[in-house]
Amino acid sequence: MSPEPNFLLDGVVVPFVAGQSVLAAAQAAGHDIPHLCWHPDFAAHGSCKLCTVKADGRTASACTLAAQPGMVVENRTPELDALRRTLLQMLFVEGNHFCPSCEKSGACQLQATAYALGMLTPHFDHFYPDRPVDVSHPDVFLDFNRCILCALCVRASREVDGKSVFAIAGRGMETHLVVNSTTHRLADTDLALTDRAAHICPVGAILQKRVGFTVPIGRRPFDTPGDEGHA
C-alpha cells in the first residue's frame, strides 16, 4: 500500500484523503486555519476569504483548494495574518458589531478570530449601516446588524432542515440576508427552534431567546486563553 498522501502546512506534515480541501484536512488533523464561512458539515462556500493561504506560492482559499501531494502551504505567516486582519476589519466596519453589548460575546467566531489574529482596532471608518432587528419569532432573535453573510444559515436551512428559510439577496454593499416571507418577518417563516439553521450562526445574528447569559461571561467557548479561533 502506498503511504497516505500529505502536504506541508507551515512545515508540518498534514495527511489528507483524495478530494479533501486543504482546510478540511488541516482542521481534521488539528491544525487551525482561520475561517468564518466554512463548517465541517457543509460544502465549502469560499466567501469570507479568512482562510486565504499561499499554496506553492499562490494565494488561494484553503476551503476550496483541493489538497495535492507534496503541496507547500503557508498559513500563519505575518503576511497572510496581515491580510486576514484587514479582511476582519472590513467585516467589522461594514456591519454594526458592538462586542461588549452582544450576547454572543465569548462564543462568537468573528470576535475570537479577531483576538487570535491580534486585530486591535477597526482601522477603517465604520459604515454604520441602518439595519433592522427582527424579534417577531417566538423563539429566535434575528439581528441583521451582526450578519457577516457567511450563508451558513442559508445552507443549513436548505440542506439539513429542508426549508429554505434564509437567502442572500441584493448585490455589492446592498447584499443582505432575507427570510422567506412576504412580510420579511421571521415569525412568518416556518423556522423552528429545533432547526439546524437556528443554531449555526457563527456570530450573534441568529440567537435563541430566553437563554441569554445562561452561560456567564468567562465560561464561554472562546473565553479560555489559547482557545481563540477554535470553534
Binding site: 459604515f127 437567502a167 448585490r171
Partner: protein, 593 residues
C-alpha cells in the same frame, strides 16, 4: 398584474425555475416594477421559495423592487460619457423636470439616475429610457426630452434619430470584411468532420477574445472529452466592460456569423443547444437577432437536421438585466439558470460542469465570428496574421479624446501608437486598454503592443487627452467596481467600497499621504484575496495611476500627515437644518458650508 397573467408568463417558460430571470423581465415589462405580491405569485407558480425569487430580483440593476418612473431614464455613467458632458446633462434634465437624481417624481411620472456603461461610448453621451438606447445627447435634445416627458408623449413618437446607433466601422480587416456565411463555414467544417474541424481551430492558434485569452481549441476539446449526455455552447454577449462596444457592432451587423460560429462550436464539442446571453443594455438588438435566427431555421442552418445532415442544433437568446459581473463565465451561467450572477467556485470549470451541470463552452462573440474565418480559409491562413503567441486580428473599440471614435480591426501585435495614429488621438497623455479592469498606459508605453503576451485587450481603448484629470477617471472606475461587485466575498464587497470612499475623501480635499498608502494596501488585499476577476482587477486603475500619475493624487492632498474622513462640522448639518440656524455660532470655528 393579476396572478393569471403571471401564470401565463410562467407557463410560456414551462414553469421552469431556471427561467426565473427571463420570467421576471417579462413580468416587469408589463407592470413597470416588481411589487412584493408579484414575487409571491411567481414563487407560487414556479414552486420555489419566495426568498429565492427575491434573491434574483434584487441582484439585477434593471429589475425594480420599488416603483420607478413611467419614464425611467438612466444616464450611462462611463468616464467617456462624463467627458462628453453627461453629468451636466443629467443635472440639467433633473432641473427641468424638478426631480432629484435617483428619486421618483411625486406623480410617478419620471425617475432619473445613472447606470454603468451602456456600450455607446463612440456616440455618447448615451442614456436609456425604459431600456431603449438613446445616443448623442446634448442640451437641445435634453430640453426636448424633458418636454416630451412632461407632455407624456409615448416613446414611439420621439424622433427616430435619437435612437439611431451608428456602427462607426473605421478600419476593416478580414473579420469585418467577412460576408454573412449563411452555412458556408458549416459546410467547410462538416467536410472535415468534428475532429478535423477541431484540429483546424488548433492550427489557427485562436485564443479567446473576451480577455482571458484561453486557447479556443483546448476549451472545445475539454468540453468534447467531458462525460455527459448533453453539452452546451454559450455565446457571451454580456459586453459590460466600460469602453467596450465591438460586440454591439458584431451583434448588429454580423449576427449570421455569430450564430454560425455557435453552430461550429456545437459541431466541434457535440452540443445540441446554444444560448446567447445578451446584455440588457442591448435589448434593442433582441428582435433583429431573433429575426436572423428565424431566417437560419428556415434555411436549414438550425434545427433537427442542420444542412440536411444528422447534426441537430438550435439557439435561444437570454437577456441580462444590468450586472457587469455576469461577463464572468460562471456568473453568466448562474444568470442563465435564473439565479443571481455570483461567480462559482472553480474548479470545476464550465467545460466539465457548466450550464445545469453539463459540459459547456462559453465563448466571446468575437471569438465565434473568428471561427467562421478559420472554417472558410483554414487555420494556417488565420495564423498568418498577428504574432506567434497572438494570432489573428483584434477588434478595438476606441473612444475618448480622438478624432474618430469607433471600431478598428488591427492584426494582434499592433502598437498603441499605431492605434492612436489611426483614430487621431494625437494629444493623448494616457490610454486605458481593456477597460477599468485592464491597464492604464502613459505616453512612455505607447510603443507597447496589443497582444496576449504584452498588453492584453478585450476590446476597450479609451483615450485621455492632456486636459483630462486622471484622478477623476480613477474615481469613476472605483465607483463602477463598488457598484458592480456581486457582494459575495469580503474583499471585493467591502474593499471596493473602501477604495471608492478613500478616493471621495481625497476628492473633497480631506486626503493625506496616509490615504495614498491605504489605497495601495487595499488594492493589494482585494487583488490577492478576491473570489473572481472582478475583485482581483478592481484595484488596477488605482494601482496604475498611483504608479504613473501620482501628482494627480498629490495635488489634492490637504495635509502632509493624517486627516480624518469624519467631518465634524458637516455632521452638524442635520442639526442646523432642524433648528433653522445658519449663523456662525451653529458652525465649528473656521468651517464654512
Amino acid at each position: 398584474m393579476n396572478d393569471a397573467s403571471i401564470a401565463t408568463i410562467c407557463a410560456r417558460h414551462d414553469f421552469d425555475a431556471g427561467q426565473l430571470l427571463q420570467i421576471l423581465r417579462a413580468v416587469q415589462t408589463r407592470e413597470g416594477w416588481l411589487p412584493a405580491a408579484t414575487l409571491d405569485a411567481i414563487a407560487t407558480c414556479l414552486k420555489i421559495p419566495r426568498a429565492a425569487v427575491e434573491a434574483t430580483a434584487s441582484f439585477y440593476s434593471f429589475l425594480h423592487l420599488a416603483p420607478v418612473g413611467r419614464y425611467c431614464i438612466l444616464f450611462s455613467d462611463n468616464v467617456t460619457d462624463r467627458m462628453l458632458g453627461s453629468r451636466e446633462l443629467m443635472e440639467s434634465l433633473c432641473r427641468q423636470l424638478w426631480v432629484e437624481p435617483g428619486h421618483l417624481s411625486e406623480d410617478g411620472l419620471v425617475s432619473v439616475a445613472t447606470t454603468s456603461c451602456t456600450g455607446l461610448c463612440d456616440q455618447g453621451p448615451a442614456l436609456l429610457v425604459n431600456e431603449r438606447a438613446l445616443t448623442r445627447m446634448d442640451e437641445p435634445r435634453i430640453a426636448a426630452l424633458a418636454e416630451f416627458v412632461r407632455n407624456k408623449v409615448p416613446l414611439d413618437q420621439w424622433p427616430t434619430a435619437w435612437f439611431a446607433v451608428e456602427d462607426n466601422l473605421r478600419l476593416r480587416g478580414p473579420l469585418l470584411n467577412l460576408a454573412a456565411p449563411q452555412g458556408n463555414a458549416l459546410r467547410a467544417a462538416f467536410a472535415m468532420g468534428p475532429a478535423g474541424w477541431l484540429s483546424e481551430v488548433r492550427e489557427s492558434g485562436l485564443r479567446g477574445r473576451g480577455g482571458a485569452g484561453f486557447p479556443t481549441a483546448r476549451k472545445w476539446q475539454a468540453c468534447r472529452d467531458a462525460e455527459s449526455d448533453a453539452r452546451f455552447v454559450v455565446c457571451n454577449a454580456d459586453e459590460g466592460e466600460p469602453g467596450t462596444f465591438k460586440d454591439r457592432v458584431l451583434l448588429t451587423r454580423y449576427a449570421d456569423a455569430i450564430f454560425e460560429g455557435m453552430t461550429l462550436a456545437g459541431y466541434a464539442v457535440g452540443a445540441r443547444r446554444g444560448l446567447l446571453y445578451l446584455r440588457g443594455e442591448y435589448l434593442y438588438l433582441l428582435e433583429p437577432l431573433e429575426a436572423v435566427l428565424r431566417q437560419r431555421r428556415a434555411a436549414g442552418l438550425l434545427g433537427e437536421t442542420v444542412l440536411g445532415g444528422d447534426f441537430a442544433f438550435d439557439i435561444d437568446i437570454h437577456v441580462g438585466a444590468g450586472a457587469y459581473v455576469c461577463g464572468e463565465e460562471t456568473a453568466l451561467i448562474e444568470s442563465l439558470e435564473g439565479k443571481p450572477g455570483r461567480p462559482r467556485i472553480r474548479p470545476p470549470f464550465p467545460v466539465t460542469q457548466g450550464y445545469r451541470g453539463h459540459p459547456t463552452v462559453v465563448n466571446n462573440v468575437e471569438t465565434l465570428v473568428a471561427t467562421c474565418l478559420i472554417a472558410l480559409h483554414g487555420g494556417t491562413a488565420y495564423a498568418g496574421q498577428g504574432t506567434p503567441g497572438s494570432t489573428g486580428s483584434k477588434l478595438i473599440s476606441v473612444s475618448g479624446d480622438c478624432a474618430a471614435p469607433g471600431i478598428y480591426e488591427f492584426p494582434l501585435g499592433v502598437t498603441l501608437r499605431a492605434v492612436l495614429e489611426a483614430c487621431g488621438g494625437h494629444d493623448a497623455q494616457a490610454v486605458q486598454v481593456s477597460g477599468p479592469s485592464g491597464m492604464l498606459l502613459a505616453q512612455s508605453a505607447f510603443d507597447r503592443r496589443i497582444a496576449f503576451e504584452d498588453v492584453p485587450c478585450a476590446g476597450a481603448f479609451m483615450v485621455f487627452g492632456r486636459q483630462r484629470d486622471l484622478f477623476e477617471m480613477v474615481r469613476n472606475f472605483a465607483h463602477f467596481f463598488a457598484h458592480e461587485s456581486c457582494g459575495f466575498c469580503t474583499p471585493c464587497r467591502v474593499g471596493t467600497r473602501l477604495i471608492a470612499k478613500l478616493l471621495d475623501k481625497i476628492a473633497c480635499g480631506h486626503g493625506s499621504p496616509y490615504d495614498l498608502n491605504e489605497l495601495a494596501q487595499l488594492c493589494e488585499v482585494t487583488q490577492a484575496t478576491s473570489h473572481c476577476g472582478l475583485g482581483s482587477s478592481a484595484g488596477n486603475p488605482v494601482r496604475d495611476a498611483l504608479r504613473q500619475f501620482r501628482p494627480a493624487f498629490e495635488r489634492r492632498l490637504r495635509s502632509l500627515d493624517y486627516a480624518p474622513a469624519f467631518d465634524l462640522d458637516a455632521a452638524l448639518a442635520q442639526a442646523r437644518q432642524m433648528t433653522g440656524r445658519q449663523d456662525s455660532g451653529a458652525h465649528l470655528r473656521g468651517a464654512t458650508e
